[in-house]
C-alpha cells in the first residue's frame, strides 16, 4: 500500500474540514436553541408582542449563526480550494 504525498495532504485537508464543521456546529446549535426557548417563554408571558418577539428572535439567531458560517467557509476552503 504505497500512499503518496499528495494523498496524505488531501487526507489532512478532509480531516481539517471535518473537524472545523463538526466542532463548529456545536455552538450555534446550542445558542440558537437557547434563543428560541426564551422567545417561547417571552411570547407566553406577553402574547400581544408576538410579531416583535419573533422578529427579534430571528435577528438574534442570524447573528448567532455567523460563527457557524465562518466554520463552514473554512471547511469549504479546505475541501475545494486548498
Amino acid at each position: 500500500m504505497a500512499i503518496e504525498g499528495m494523498d496524505i495532504i488531501k487526507a489532512a485537508a478532509f480531516l481539517g474540514a471535518g473537524l472545523s464543521m463538526g466542532l463548529g456546529a456545536i455552538g450555534p446549535g446550542v445558542g440558537e436553541g437557547m434563543v428560541a426557548a426564551k422567545a417561547c417563554e417571552a411570547i407566553g408571558k406577553n402574547p400581544d408582542e408576538a410579531g416583535l418577539l419573533t422578529r427579534t428572535m430571528l435577528v438574534g439567531q442570524a447573528v448567532t449563526e455567523s460563527t457557524g458560517i465562518y466554520a463552514l467557509v473554512i471547511a469549504l476552503l479546505l475541501l475545494f480550494v486548498v
Binding site: 455567523s66 467557509v73 469549504l76 476552503l77 480550494v81
Partner: protein, 224 residues
C-alpha cells in the same frame, strides 16, 4: 483564487530600511475621505430651517453621535471629543460599506488601518486622562487596588488596543473572503448580493458602531 493573498505594495528604500506602502488600502482610504469631505461641504453649505436631504442626513449623524458622546463623558468633555467620535464613526461606516460598490474594496481590510485607528484612540484616551487627572493620579490608577496589580493593568491596556483593532479587521476581512469564496463556488449572481448586504451593511455598521462606542468608553474610563 490567487487574488486572496496578493497585496499591491510600493516599496521605497529609505536610509537602508524599506518603507512599504499598501497601495490599495491607501487609495480606498483617500476615496472615503474625498466622499466625506464632499458630503460635509455640501451638507453644511445652505443651513436652512427646512433641511434638504444632505443636511438632514448630516444632522442625524451629528445629533446622534453628540448625544452618545455626552452620555458617556460629561457635558464639557463630551462636546470636546464629540467631533472626533463623529468623524471616527462616519469614516468607519463608509469604509465598511465601500466593498459593496464594484471594483472598490474596504480600506479596513488591511490590518494597518484598524490598528492605527485603535492606537489613535489609545493615545487620545491616555492623553485625556493625564490632562484631566494630572500625571501622579494617572499613574496611581495603575497601582490600584493593590501594588502587584500593576503588570495586570498594563497588560490590560495593551489588550484593549489589540482587541478593538483585530475585531474590526477580522470581521471585515472575514466577510470579504467569505463573499469571494462563495462567489467562486456557486457561479451564481443571486447569492453574492445577499451576502454583500449582510456583511457590508449589517456587520459593517455594527462593527463601526462597536469600535466607536468602545473608543468613547475607553476615553471615559481614563478620564473618570
Amino acid at each position: 483564487m490567487d487574488e486572496l493573498g496578493r497585496i499591491h505594495q510600493l516599496i521605497v528604500p529609505l536610509f537602508g530600511h524599506n518603507m512599504v506602502f499598501n497601495l490599495e488600502a491607501i487609495a480606498m482610504a483617500w476615496i472615503v475621505m474625498a466622499i466625506l469631505l464632499f458630503f460635509g461641504f455640501y451638507a453644511a453649505k445652505k443651513k436652512s430651517r427646512l433641511p434638504g436631504p444632505l443636511q438632514a442626513l448630516g444632522e442625524l449623524f451629528v445629533s446622534q453621535l453628540y448625544m452618545l458622546s455626552e452620555d458617556a463623558l460629561d457635558e464639557k468633555l463630551g462636546k470636546k471629543y464629540a467631533p472626533l467620535i463623529c468623524a471616527l464613526f462616519m469614516f468607519l461606516m463608509l469604509s465598511n460599506l465601500l466593498g459593496i460598490l464594484p471594483h472598490l474594496e474596504e480600506p479596513t481590510k488591511d490590518l494597518n488601518i484598524p490598528l492605527s485607528l485603535g492606537l489613535m484612540g489609545f493615545v487620545i484616551a491616555h492623553y485625556a486622562g493625564i490632562k484631566e487627572k494630572g500625571f501622579k493620579k494617572y499613574l496611581s490608577a495603575y497601582i490600584e487596588p493593590m501594588f502587584f496589580m500593576m503588570p495586570l493593568n498594563v497588560i490590560g491596556e495593551l489588550a484593549k488596543v489589540v482587541s478593538i483593532s483585530f475585531r474590526l479587521f477580522g470581521n471585515i476581512m472575514g466577510g470579504s473572503i467569505i463573499i469571494l469564496v462563495v462567489s467562486h463556488l456557486t457561479y451564481s449572481i443571486i447569492m453574492p448580493p445577499f451576502l454583500n448586504a449582510f456583511f457590508g451593511l449589517f456587520v459593517g455598521t455594527i462593527q463601526a458602531f462597536v469600535f466607536t462606542m468602545l473608543t468613547v468608553v475607553y476615553i471615559s474610563v481614563q478620564v473618570k
